[in-house]
């Protein structure tokens, strides 16, 4: 009893957490946020900042789509006491999207390979010039080329290999062209592949096609409550421009839904044979495979865990495990919607971070807009000419939410200030 008592006293004597030093920018970095939240611009990188990862000591690693002028494809940002950060160098001569930290390593991907770098106890990369190649030779045919990564707690890494096609037509994206029977793309793409996180030079034959029928996943994350991988799929494009007799431009702008899937090994989410209708909440037969806008394939493929408006391009998924935000956010999902293009001639949508509440490892209740106005104005959003496009999400050691933008390269930090 006495021992316990003294322990409690020690806890009470601890200084206030460092997060009290972080002050939001006066204009909240031009973002619209729920009451109590604030935002600041952490840094302007000037590069196409895809995904980002933060070490326990606060170093921010940003993966650039293309190496910058100095030939660096990864930037290292050192935090300052005011909550901002400065670019303190970089490395990795390859462009790409994926980046993550786990168990003392930094993982980063090009559009073909996945590398890892050992971190020291300050969270610094020890050997910048010689990363270990853990996976190589993944397919890149200049469409859905991003190789995003996520890690579980059992030593595995999950990599998205996007389909090098819109809907597996004989002539990709061509008006009226039908689907190739038994879509061959699925052999090496259009799914999530599982590899060992610590084994070098793995190729397709060393990995497992963990889930298939996923057209392109840029945002994925491991959920520690359900101990399960969740992914956000980019739904197919061009229902109207490929099949103008079957779909109006409005129907094409509003479908298919962007879907969240909770994966088990061996799952099939149905691309290219089906798409998910948001209004009818139904799996529809794809027009390339005999669909007519009405025929359904219900029950055949994995049902989405949640569905969101069409074409908004979910580029990041993050389960929030911090304690800075109010309790209702804990273990829920943040999704960064990069913004649409395939809603034209209808107004474009997206360019925002949304929050999906979760309960016991499952979506629970409707999604809500969390951080808006990356576009800069409603007019810019509608025209698709956004000032910023949210692409990556990461959680800081204090529970702040970081957002990367691959249009101008701005790194944002969202904090909760209310008591």
């Amino acid at each position: 009893m006495a021992v316990l008592g003294s322990g409690t006293a020690l806890v009470a004597l601890r200084p206030a957490p460092a997060r009290s030093l972080v002050v939001a920018d006066a204009n909240n970095a031009d973002l619209k946020l729920p009451t109590g939240f604030g935002a600041l611009v952490v840094a302007e990188t000037g590069g196409k900042a895809r995904h980002l990862a933060i070490t326990p000591s606060g170093t921010i690693y940003v993966k650039l789509n293309r190496p910058d002028k100095a030939g660096q494809g990864i930037l290292a940002l050192q935090p300052a006491t005011n909550g901002k950060a400065t670019v303190a160098g970089g490395f990795g001569s390859y462009g790409g999207t994926g980046i993550a930290t786990k168990n003392g390593y930094l993982y980063a991907s090009s559009d073909e390979n996945v590398y890892r770098y050992k971190l020291n106890d300050k969270g610094e990369v020890v050997n910048k010039q010689q990363p270990e190649t853990i996976i190589k030779g993944l397919i890149n045919r200049k469409q859905h080329e991003s190789k995003s990564v996520a890690l579980d707690n059992a030593g595995n890494i999950y990599v998205n290999v996007g389909a090098y096609s819109n809907s597996c037509q004989v002539q990709d994206r061509q008006k009226g062209s039908m689907g190739i029977p038994n879509c061959p793309v699925l052999d090496s793409a259009g799914g999530i592949w599982q590899f060992r996180a610590d084994k070098l030079n793995q190729t397709y034959t060393d990995g497992v096609r963990y889930a298939t029928g996923l057209r392109n996943v840029v945002g994925l994350d491991w959920n520690n409550q359900s101990n399960q991988l969740f992914v956000m799929q980019h739904g197919r494009d061009q229902l109207n421009s490929i099949f103008p007799d079957l779909y109006t431009t409005e129907e094409s702008a509003q479908n298919p839904a962007e879907c969240l899937y909770a994966l088990q090994k061996g799952d099939n989410a149905g691309w290219p044979y089906m798409y998910y209708n948001l209004q009818k909440k139904t799996q529809m037969l794809a027009p390339e495979y005999g669909g007519d806008g009405k025929k359904t394939v219900n029950g055949k493929y994995l049902e989405p865990a949640a569905a969101y408006p069409a074409h908004m391009a979910p580029n990041a998924l993050l389960f929030y495990t911090g304690t800075m935000f109010p309790a209702r956010y804990r273990n829920g999902a943040f999704i960064a919607f990069h913004g649409s293009w395939n809603r034209a001639p209808e107004p474009q949508k997206g360019f925002k971070v949304v929050f999906q509440p979760f309960k016991d490892g499952k979506p629970s209740g409707d999604w809500e807009v969390f951080a808006d106005n990356f576009a800069g104005s409603p007019e810019k959003e509608a025209a698709g000419r956004a000032d910023h496009k949210p692409c990556g999400l990461a959680q800081g050691p204090d529970g702040s939410l970081y957002v990367s933008d691959d249009k101008k390269g701005t790194i944002y930090r969202i904090v909760y200030n209310a008591k």
Partner: protein, 150 residues
């Protein structure tokens, strides 16, 4: 070195003087030959083809989509050689940089469009979104299609 410069200067003068000598025309007329007005009907037809076939990727304002679909605003393809431009529409395009920028998407072949539709849409593109360039004629498309039959 000096000789080379002189030679170059002479060449420039000679090349520059050629069209001037060939175009001994009244000033008023010359203006119409350098920027021939495209008939409104052609532009209207071209816009219809554009809206149905191109707008979905290149957008209503020709601005395109960052890193995916290139803009059609003053690019070397749009303003440049008409044969190369026509072939992009006839055969499609993938994996090539446009004015130094990479684009990760596919431009499908549009050989199903008629010669006139292709001429109209390219004339529309070359005279919209701030572009100003000569019209593409149906006869030109026909010849390019015939010469590139696969």
């Amino acid at each position: 070195m000096k000789q080379l410069t002189l030679l170059l200067l002479a060449l420039c003068w000679w090349a520059g003087s050629l069209p001037a000598a060939a175009q001994q025309k009244p000033a008023a007329k010359r203006k119409t030959t350098t920027s021939p007005a495209v008939p409104g009907a052609v532009l209207a037809r071209g816009k219809v083809v554009y809206t149905q076939n191109c707008l979905t990727c290149h957008m209503a304002d020709g601005y395109g989509v960052d890193g995916m679909n290139p803009p059609l605003i003053k690019t070397s393809y749009v303003l440049g050689d008409k044969t190369r431009l026509t072939k992009v529409v006839l055969h499609g395009m993938q994996g090539l940089d446009v004015d130094g920028e990479p684009y990760n998407n596919v431009m499908p072949a549009h050989a199903f469009l008629t010669d006139q539709q292709i001429a109209d849409v390219l004339t529309y593109v070359r005279n919209s979104f701030g572009n100003k360039a000569s019209a593409v004629q149906t006869t030109e498309v026909k010849a390019i299609r015939a010469a590139n039959k696969k």
